[in-house]
Assembly symmetry: C2
Homo-oligomer: 330 residues x 2
Amino acid sequence: MAVTIHDVALLAGVNSSTVSRVINGKATITPDTKERVYAAMRELDYHPNSLARSLASGLSGAIGVVVNARDAEAFSNVFFSRSLFAIEQAAQARGYQVIIANGAQSRGGTIENLMKEHKVDGLILPPTTVKPALMETIGDFPYVVLGTPDTLRSETCWVDNNNEQGAEMAVRHLQKQGYQRIAYLGGHLKRGFTKRRIRGYQNANGGTEIILTTDGTAENAYMLAVGELKKAEHPDAFVCNDNLAAFGLLKACRELRLPVPREIGIVAFDNYPLAEYMDPPLTIVDIDTAMLGEQSVQLLFRRIENKVGNQQIMLSANLVIRASSERKAK
Amino acid sequence: MAVTIHDVALLAGVNSSTVSRVINGKATITPDTKERVYAAMRELDYHPNSLARSLASGLSGAIGVVVNARDAEAFSNVFFSRSLFAIEQAAQARGYQVIIANGAQSRGGTIENLMKEHKVDGLILPPTTVKPALMETIGDFPYVVLGTPDTLRSETCWVDNNNEQGAEMAVRHLQKQGYQRIAYLGGHLKRGFTKRRIRGYQNANGGTEIILTTDGTAENAYMLAVGELKKAEHPDAFVCNDNLAAFGLLKACRELRLPVPREIGIVAFDNYPLAEYMDPPLTIVDIDTAMLGEQSVQLLFRRIENKVGNQQIMLSANLVIRASSERKAK
DNA sequence: ATCAATTATGCAAACGGTTGCACGATGTAT
DNA sequence: ATACATCGTGCAACCGTTTGCATAATTGAT
């Protein structure tokens, strides 16, 4: 039915192997025949069958992006979705396809199938998958973890943004703005990145530590913030683990009539699209997801081509300063 | 290197074709041999090579989800990301892989390659791709449009939620709550779904029509809302095209000291995670993205299996009533 | 002009499955 | 007991490429 390499060969008056070599640029071909082959390809509207090609070459031409999502929210998480965009771009630039696979439901089989059934040449994994058992089944299959694994940190291959440095930067910025009692709000300690952010907060924060972790909802952050702000000696600034926490905090400040940024300063992690439209616009520790995605793909390809061993890449975070932390009048 | 079907056959003492039949359940096999084959597969940790399988069977075992994204925001768009989650789930349940492909940059080649290089068995397309030229190259290749195409509406295959009915419902709800002058805020007329939502708004809104379309930013919505609300005879309720518009509107109401929902009622499209944490929590026209994704995959498979011709599926929207539209005290 | 080195292309065997056809074994009806 | 349908399995061709090896054609040096 479909036009094959043999049809092209026939029309060009050459052998199919010659056509293959023209396509892949694998050998020296006379300009004349090369031209005839191209002409034949054009005339027949030939598209090589990627399945046959993969089978013969042993390369699937795809990478898998694994995500542990219990519900749809994990997909709309800006960190994931923006990284995914960058990953797709970088992969497409190399002629690679991106397969997404949710590994949460079927217990672990997903990753194993993707590699063992030759569906992908490499994997981008979430840090939660890094466990000794899985690493064993992965063996020396090329993979990159997007984020810092909690365990096996130095023996695995990962790319992450520097959460610790980001939090430090946030605290130092607030201090420079004259805020004195800086608290940390939001996030759950079972997530590694929250722990690292809190460590950064602690590094930079010489004074009293006030750490309020939540169940991840804005509602919970709101309640904790209200409780804390009602105290006599309450914080005058917060580093928020995400925009949801900042949202809850803003609501608390409104209700308690504590103007932001005059009375309360706020810096939040993750640059949600709404952050700059909030009231006041939020100062943000921005994660360069484009770079993160791009770097993870680059590293993965180096692994696929066997050019490097395990490597760790840490990108630094940037502060996007908006009104919510600008106490000093300009 | 890898263990093949022949290794399994050898160990089980049968022919490879028998192993194939056991795997695919394509023929009647003696329970005894079936058991021997399974045992051999287990012992050798056999995983069939999906590439070989695809080549022989002519089915890639993957569907492609195409998106026209200029930037990363299109990926974090809740409509897209939630649908994607549902699509992945539904596909995985059938043993299918999901390939995502951004078609915006390379002008059309993406879709063509995906189908002609046998990378996917079917496509899920965004409505913006539906143009005569592309439909011609697609031919009778199985596809489903996720959303209503602006053109060729009755000749294509699509799944969408009923934006028109959703907007009608929003207006009727506001009317029942006693609001009189209802305006429409947000969205761009070049987007088909915005046009349909506005049509629904017009259907239900007997009175004066006030339609304020924006460039899609919250900032723009805010400015338009302020302008409108400063007029002597200003609207007392808004249907917002999305959460960004609602966000801008809320800011305008705060500044002009028009309490929501007492003075101004608000219903917005799209259930963003933050919507229920806004102040006040937003009443929402909720789109059942899970159902939308599930249905689009189901329809796509029916097309792949050649069971049906072009079909259109329209799902109805639901109203999630929260404080922003509840004028009547309970 | 001869021979070696190089270049361009063909041949055929993989890659690892699926599947139509054939055939022996078993079961059923007469 | 014979004929015929059914069941279970093997054989081998095929899916559409890639690629190592062989060979024909070309070039260059002597």
